[in-house]
């Protein structure tokens, strides 16, 4: 104890090592943010200054949302030493059922644009997702069929199912309220609300640091130096405020703004109406916070990690391993439904090809974000950053005019290299 305390005191803010030790910042996370910065700056220079613009970053945030939501679930799936190859096909199938629900079934009951349509369709989709996940999870956990095979079957079966719902017909448009989940001008909350959320997030970060410190002190555990707490608070709040500042400088298209101002009897202010945070981004952030809570603060999360570390030990300790695994797949199904809602709402249509290759992006996001394929290790935040990395690569390449086959080659290479780097990193630590 005394020795820990002296080590803490010795940690000086002036050396890199001392700084990292005192703030307890994960070097792995730092490395990932560094890689993201390199990708962003690289594309910015290579694309002649079009990447790091409010418009592109805002689009990037919206495009990442669906993959990010699903990646949070994939983390838990991979942590328990499983895999889910069926998420892309599930997304197609669930998106289709939600589309048919709101565009064809519900209107026959209560007409178009009923205020309950979006929520009923969404709840139905989530229900379907959880049910599919339960089926996968049951076969995997209780019948003992490997997840690779079950979800490979799912990859084929649910894509077939998506076609079957409407015999291949595309369903459009979505319910007006439902479409807001996809973002766009209406599906963004504007400058004022974005600032309010940013301030609330800052308050939450500071309160979290403060209460964490109080709690550790009440048990007499070693504390971080005060300056380190300050730096963490500053970095956290700074990142939140900077992101919102960028989103708030991306104005609505001027024609849309003028029309809206006219209809509402006002004038377009200087600089136009700001987009602010998009609803899908808010959904993804909320999922990220919720899933982090689940993974780190609840028994369920503890069991998920323990099972990944040593399934026999978890079983011997009295954990109901099969049931936990089944729940992980149910959660994955529910999150795929949210991803499907975002993606169908953004497209304002449900097609039977929707979500193709998403399983690869989702798995890549989780793995790039530090989830170990050997199980037992991974973070939700890492996977969400991984989703942004994947999306940055893709939209950067689109911006530079690379064609799809070349994009696929690059993404494939990046995935392999990322896992190789991760393997080396773990090898060095072990």
């Amino acid at each position: 104890m005394a020795d820990a305390a002296s080590r803490q005191r010795a940690a000086s803010p002036l050396t890199v090592n001392g700084f990292l030790r005192a703030t307890e910042i994960d070097t792995r996370m730092l490395g990932m943010l560094g890689a993201l910065a390199v990708i962003w700056i690289g594309f910015h220079l290579a694309s002649g200054g079009t990447f790091l613009t409010p418009r592109n970053l805002w689009n990037l945030s919206v495009q990442s949302a669906s993959i990010a939501v699903m990646a949070t679930g994939m983390v838990l799936v991979i942590v328990t030493r499983n895999i889910d190859l069926s998420v892309g096909s599930m997304l197609g199938f669930i998106g289709m059922t939600m589309g048919v629900m709101q565009a064809e079934w519900l209107p026959t009951i209560w007409g178009y644009d009923h205020p309950l349509t979006w929520i009923v369709a969404l709840a139905f989709g989530v229900g379907v997702g959880v049910a599919i996940g339960a089926l996968h999870g049951w076969v995997i956990a209780y019948l003992g069929v490997p997840a690779f095979i079950v979800t490979l079957g799912g990859l084929l079966a649910w894509r077939g199912g998506a076609w079957w719902v409407t015999s291949g017909r595309t369903v459009a448009p979505m319910d007006g309220t439902f479409a807001l989940i996809g973002g766009g001008v209406q599906g963004s909350i504007g400058a004022a609300a974005s600032w309010a959320i940013a301030l609330a997030a800052c308050a939450a970060i500071l309160a979290g640091l403060w209460f964490g410190r109080l709690r550790r002190r009440s048990f007499g555990f070693p504390l971080r130096p005060l300056w380190a707490e300050g730096v963490l608070g500053l970095l956290g709040c700074g990142a939140v405020l900077a992101a919102v500042a960028v989103f708030n400088t991306y104005p609505w298209p001027s024609r849309v703004a003028e029309r809206w101002a006219e209809a509402n009897g006002t004038v377009v202010p200087e600089g136009g109406f700001a987009h602010g945070l998009a609803i899908p981004v808010l959904v993804a952030l909320a999922v990220g916070v919720g899933m982090t809570f689940l993974a780190t603060r609840t028994r369920f999360g503890r069991y998920v990690f323990a099972i990944g570390g040593n399934p026999e030990a978890a079983e011997l300790a009295g954990v109901d391993v099969a049931w936990v695994k089944m729940k992980v797949f149910m959660l994955m199904g529910g999150l795929v439904a949210l991803g499907a809602a975002i993606s169908t709402a953004r497209l304002n249509a449900a097609t039977n090809a929707q979500g193709q290759l998403d399983e690869l992006y989702v798995i890549a996001a989780a793995v790039i974000g530090g989830t170990s394929l050997a199980g037992g290790a991974g973070t939700i935040a890492g996977a969400m950053i991984g989703a942004v990395v994947m999306q940055s690569l893709q939209s950067g390449m689109v911006l530079m005019g690379l064609d799809t086959p070349l994009q696929n080659i690059v993404v494939g290479l990046v995935l392999v290299v990322a896992v190789w780097v991760d393997t080396m990193y773990r090898g060095r630590k072990a």
Partner: protein, 261 residues
């Protein structure tokens, strides 16, 4: 010291289990009274670990009966065994390598706050306390247990078994990886738990330890019980004869695995 006529805390009757064609445990009966240490002996692969894993719910038995306090006990999985107050230190330690000592200590029985969330601080505090008793030099509370030494990992496994007020404690080679000081600490702890009226099954290859700690021994060979008896009624050489040759001495009660005299 213990009343031979009282109902045994645990009675395992005619237990058998086979893995494929291998009869790992074959018609073994042992019992254990409160405040008693019963040593299970036998060469490698004799079936000791398998027998106690049946008691701890890790393996389903093929046949036989388990009674706790004279009542038939239904032990289908480790959760059931814990409900009967059976705690186990496994030979393999059975630790989740990727989480820290406190998380392992409380695995399956986490402390939670008022809101149902994990109370990591309280668990760490309890872990510091129990580890302080077992292994006072232990300070690496924040690290995943894979970063610990073999002996430190063993201390964590022992801490887990003694922290939850076991009534029946199973120790499968609990000191195999420990240094002399920690081994002495575990021996002292064993005697202390025995004083508290806990029944202990001790598996060990160290015949001296066994004679120091145990009240009775039961010897297995090739899955069968050679015999059992009080430590005072046998010499160390006789016990070694049981282990190696399967020869049951006059001081012990022969089992189905004893050499025909």
């Amino acid at each position: 010291m213990t009343d031979a006529n009282a109902t045994p805390l645990v009675e395992m009757r005619d237990i058998s289990i086979a893995f494929g064609g291998v009869k790992a445990v074959d018609g073994v009966s042992v019992d254990l009274r409160a405040g008693e240490v019963v040593a299970l002996l036998g060469h490698n692969g004799a079936g000791k670990s398998t027998l106690i894993k049946i008691l701890s719910g890790a393996y389903p038995r093929d046949s036989g009966e388990i009674l706790v306090n004279g009542q038939p006990a239904e032990i289908e999985n480790p959760r059931d065994a814990k409900k009967y107050g059976i705690e186990t230190i496994y030979q393999s330690l059975a630790l989740a390598d990727n989480v820290d000592a406190a998380a392992n200590l409380f695995l399956g029985r986490e402390l939670t706050t008022r809101w149902g969330t994990l109370d990591d601080a309280a668990m760490e505090a309890a872990c510091r306390e129990v580890m302080g008793r077992l292994n006072p030099n232990f300070t690496r509370f924040k690290e995943p247990v894979k970063a610990l030494s073999g002996g430190q990992r063993q201390s964590v496994a022992i801490a887990r078994a003694i922290h939850f007020n076991a009534r029946i404690l199973i120790m499968d080679e609990p000191t195999a990886a420990l240094g002399p000081q920690e081994t002495a600490q575990v021996a002292e702890l064993t005697l202390q738990l025995k004083q508290e009226g806990i029944g202990i099954f001790l598996i060990s290859h160290d015949i001296h330890d066994v004679f120091d700690l145990a009240d009775r021994v039961a010897v297995m060979k090739n899955g069968k019980l050679v015999g059992s008896g009080r430590v005072g009624d046998m010499t160390k050489d006789e016990v070694l004869g049981m282990i190696i040759l399967g020869k049951c001495p006059p001081g012990a009660t022969p089992g189905p695995g004893a050499l025909a005299a």
